[in-house]
Symmetry: C2
Subunit: 464 residues, 2 copies
Amino acid sequence: MNSNNCDIIIAGSGFAGLSAAIEAAEGGASVVVLEKMKAAGGNSVISDGGMAVAGSELQKKHGVEDSPELFYQDMMTAGLGLNHPALVKKLTDQSAEAYRWLVEDIKVDFMDRVDLFGGHSVPRSHGAVKVTGASIINPMKKKLESLGVSIRYGHNLKRLILKDGRVTGAVVSQDYSYKTGEGSSEYELQASQGVILAGGGYGADVPFRSAQDPRLDESIGTTNKPFAKADLIKEALRIGAAPVQLSHIQLGPWASPDESGFGDGPLFADYTGFIYGIIVDPESGERFINEQADRKVVSDAILGKGKPCLCISDSAAVNYTGWDIGKALRKGVVKTFHTLEALCAEYGVPQDPLQASIDDFNQLVQGKKKDGYGRILPRDAMNLGTAPYYAMRLWPKVHFTMGGLHIDKEARVLDLNGQVIPGLFAAGEITGGVHGASRLGSCAVTSCVVFGRTAGKQALNGTN
Amino acid sequence: MNSNNCDIIIAGSGFAGLSAAIEAAEGGASVVVLEKMKAAGGNSVISDGGMAVAGSELQKKHGVEDSPELFYQDMMTAGLGLNHPALVKKLTDQSAEAYRWLVEDIKVDFMDRVDLFGGHSVPRSHGAVKVTGASIINPMKKKLESLGVSIRYGHNLKRLILKDGRVTGAVVSQDYSYKTGEGSSEYELQASQGVILAGGGYGADVPFRSAQDPRLDESIGTTNKPFAKADLIKEALRIGAAPVQLSHIQLGPWASPDESGFGDGPLFADYTGFIYGIIVDPESGERFINEQADRKVVSDAILGKGKPCLCISDSAAVNYTGWDIGKALRKGVVKTFHTLEALCAEYGVPQDPLQASIDDFNQLVQGKKKDGYGRILPRDAMNLGTAPYYAMRLWPKVHFTMGGLHIDKEARVLDLNGQVIPGLFAAGEITGGVHGASRLGSCAVTSCVVFGRTAGKQALNGTN
């Protein structure tokens, strides 16, 4: 029998929900975390666990000069100016503190490296060990347990309870199945301080996402878990929350059509191929895009080709970056070729133009020319040409939903008139406005931690 | 004393509302048209009254080959594929019939010409006489009067009434003032067949539009009337209607910072300057954009310059197109210069580069080179260089809101689960999905007439 009273309800147990729960519990609140699935972490746990941070000790150690201001500019540029400035400012101002909190308070292990992701001006992505969000979720769970908070698995926030315009609790269904959308029974849970929505995005919700972007019907895959639905967003809209930029939905350009879900190919493409290698049209053997452009630009370019394109790198780069791409190789998502000829034979690429594209790229590496596509190479760029070669087919998948609930910088949910809905908070992918038209890689973890913590503290101090 | 019973309530008396009202009244329904302002026509009456039609007799007369399929492709291209295909198909399939209806049944006078607007592949814009939407609204009002329907002015639909999930009427405030958002008294109006929302867009609603696109704060003007607010959209969302693509808001690139509202400059810029003239950066004297690209592309390019740019044409073009730009000249929004030197002196443009830009453009006109910006000139393009010159400063204004309520092709409003909300219909700018990311010029009238008529008929047949 679960208690039906608490101070704060948190719906969702990904990065945002657990960050909120830890802050609220540390502040002394009685917290109930609802997780509709049977395990914690939602989509966070299958992410790669990379976190964009400006001004960390780790960056300094690796000789990277960065600042919140530069980070802000990068996010606004990628977002095409649609980002809500106050949210971006908060995220970029607090990224270094959020990272320190993860390292020092939550005991997350990060790798001793910082990576340059597309659209970022400098190496800024701090990867949790084993390149998985589980390396962040697990210590968060441990911390939460030490604070005496348990997660109610299979419990779904079905309906928000309002009293005199204030959110005071929720109707929860138990033994929830996301396939049927139903649970076995329901109970009411009162929350004296408020409800925090941290249920993630709607990347797997085909009817909802395709109403906003009709291109994204069932023919387009997703890197998300199948339970990434819009239910909590709809429930918040039902009680008057304002939607923001719902039609901005991000495709991951580093996804493979040769595996389902997020898969194992992206580790190769995003962490090695796009940085040290090239993308070519298999029909012409030619490059057609700045491989380091942001996700929207690269995805739109590949979709525009109307067919999967090829990401090509070589053993020098794969050995240098050091990522373990064994799984992708065993699945056949990334393939090895001892000669360029063999690679061309496999994919039907004309060899001479491909060789010319590679020669051209190597001229860039050697600083002998500028790139027609605007690519700026990292300081440690290297020639492409050391056999064996590695190649992967690319076809975008729905990866992240930039739109969501309208919040202010205190993570309070706003209504259609821009007024705070008392007792209702939100953080993470369920919110809109942080990333604008396009999210930069590794900014989601930062958003979840910064605004999750904010929501936890804000609900705690009860001024809303 | 107004009757408090009718078959169909229509909120809004622009192109969409009046089209719906005429169809419903012709079908025998008792219709009440609510207009919150003191006069009919909303923003429609201040539009230029241009209607995009594919396959009209007028096009054939002027030797233009066109088809619904080509029109469909043009709209999808401009909309970046975000358009809802079924809505675009309906609009493009029925544009010719809608135009015939206006000419034959409503007795609208159109000019004997078809114009090429940016983003359209062929001349397709059919302009009502005097280049004003009033030339369509007035005969529509006359038709409505002949059907015995009067418009309730100053009556605002404040709240929708639901009974068992069906919209059955509305709470109406009388003597409404859009400035206070209040009326003097309220009454309930029952509608046995349904309510049609045709209240237009939210271009003048700064808080609402800037939540969706934070760039569009009070520093950006609008071509809309100040009453173009989101109130009806919010009311529909309150009862569960789904929003679609609210963050897609169109700026008019042909607007002038030297007058308020839509003004008189656009007639010069859009109908002469962008077709036969050029746009230059006043600092460099150089072109920087395909002047015939769609509104989004041109607006973003001008905004990207961070300062007003110049539209330049000459007397050969102005005389040829024949538009009466006297009002813009008297206001000083468009200026005349007897020499290029004088023009340059006025705006601080370096003369040699401007002369080079003009010479370059004339090479295009003469077919001696291709345009680096992708501009394709009309068959009747002419050299730029016949004094006097005409110039106008350009700075985009919010012109149209592509987003709005989710409807199906029968103009029925859908909820967040894609289900029809019984008794609720919508048409025109209040709806989303027709134009996707960017509306092409003169497609709004078509959308209003096609979906307004559809809503009227659909509410009439009562199958919803």
